[in-house]
């Protein structure tokens, strides 16, 4: 039987939730409504004249090859970041779960990068891969690879994928480790007695039981790649070269702040907002319910 608190006063419960509601309205609903309103306007760069144009901004966006290209880039980037982050950290977490000696040291060392801010992570990797002085560039040149992410779009993409993944590995690692440790030992021991190799035990027992964690991390990593990587990109490629690393959230910033196209930028924010809402709904529908077997 669920316990319910009943307030006798009519206004007290509303007063108690009022601060939270006020914060949500001021910091979410109001700006969101402003963004929707601005997305129907066209302004000149100096803000002197404003015209109401309904859906013209949206029409222009979906007719713009740059914007559709940005969608493609975002899809490639987020899939690469999410998949490589999850695969690497699952691999490391499985190994960390296996070893007994030095486990704490490994865990501590692997959780480190989580304390690094995204912009700093970008700077760290940009420094290592700097076209002229980077230490990794030096090694790559020795192997005969001409590395210069400032003029090569694919290499720029690779750089931001590496930096963004590096930062997210610790987070994924923590969740996978917790998930692995909550799997009942008896299941794995029973399989071991039946003669299943560690490899087979992983794919038939551990991995299916980890699927709620994996799905949760997939959603979190996708959202991270969509929105949390702004700092990484701004500190390294700034969307370049020639827009080859300009993911949607960076394009919103670039078009609004640098190119002074407020209406177009607002329309992009609204589209991004719809994407976030869709991702959040997906997360609540599938993760909160937990994948059951």
């Amino acid at each position: 039987m669920e316990k319910k608190v009943v307030f006798r006063s009519a206004w007290l419960p509303y007063a108690l939730v009022a601060p939270q509601i006020a914060i949500t309205i001021i910091f979410f609903f109001w700006p969101a409504a402003q963004a929707v309103y601005y997305s129907f306007l066209v302004q000149d760069p100096f803000g002197l004249s404003t015209q109401f144009v309904w859906f013209q901004n949206y029409k222009e966006l979906f007719n713009s090859s740059h914007y559709l290209d940005s969608f493609r880039i975002t899809a490639i980037f987020s899939v690469l970041v999410a998949v490589s982050g999850i695969v690497i950290s699952l691999f490391l977490a499985t190994m960390a779960d296996h070893v007994l000696r030095g486990a704490l040291a490994y865990k501590t060392m692997l959780i480190w990068p989580y304390a690094v801010a995204p912009a700093i992570a970008g700077v760290l990797w940009a420094f290592i891969f700097a076209p002229s002085i980077g230490i990794a560039t030096y090694v790559l040149k020795r192997w005969g690879i001409d590395w210069n992410w400032i003029i090569n779009g694919d290499q720029a993409m690779l750089l931001i994928v590496v930096a963004a993944t590096w930062k997210q590995i610790s987070y994924n690692f923590l969740f996978f480790l917790a998930g692995l440790q909550s799997i009942p030992r008896s299941l794995i021991e029973a399989a071991a007695i039946d003669g299943a190799t560690p490899f087979r035990r992983f794919w038939t027992i551990v991995f299916p039981l980890l699927s709620p964690t994996t799905f949760f991390l997939l959603v979190i990593n996708m959202v991270y790649a969509f929105f949390g990587t702004f700092g990484v990109i701004d500190a390294t490629t700034q969307g370049g070269p020639a827009g080859s690393t300009q993911i949607l959230v960076y394009k919103v910033y670039h078009d609004g702040v640098k190119a002074a196209d407020l209406g177009g930028s607002a329309a992009q924010s609204v589209i991004l907002m719809i994407i976030v809402i869709a991702l959040t709904v997906a997360q609540f529908r599938f993760v909160e319910r937990k994948v059951q077997y």
């Binding site: 190994m95 296996h98 070893v99 030095g102 692997l110 990068p113 560690p198």
Partner: protein, 67 residues
């Protein structure tokens, strides 16, 4: 650990050590660079062991900022 498989344990340690090195490498390089002079950093390849400019660099950043 359910059974004793020395090779698997060895493999796990090897993977973890490589993982830790890869994860810590950018932080280490940056720390080393913070102990070097500008000339030492731009001299490719830069050394991977700390230099003697640690106190000077940090004091400069904390008191007067970078140039």
């Amino acid at each position: 650990m359910v059974e004793n498989r020395p090779w698997l344990t060895f493999f796990a340690h090897a993977v973890l050590i490589v993982g830790v090195i890869l994860v810590a490498f950018p932080l280490w390089v940056t720390f080393v660079a913070s102990t070097l002079t500008y000339e030492e950093i731009v001299n490719v390849p830069m050394p991977l062991l700390p230099g003697d400019q640690l106190i000077k660099n940090y004091a400069q950043v904390l008191t007067s900022g970078s140039e």
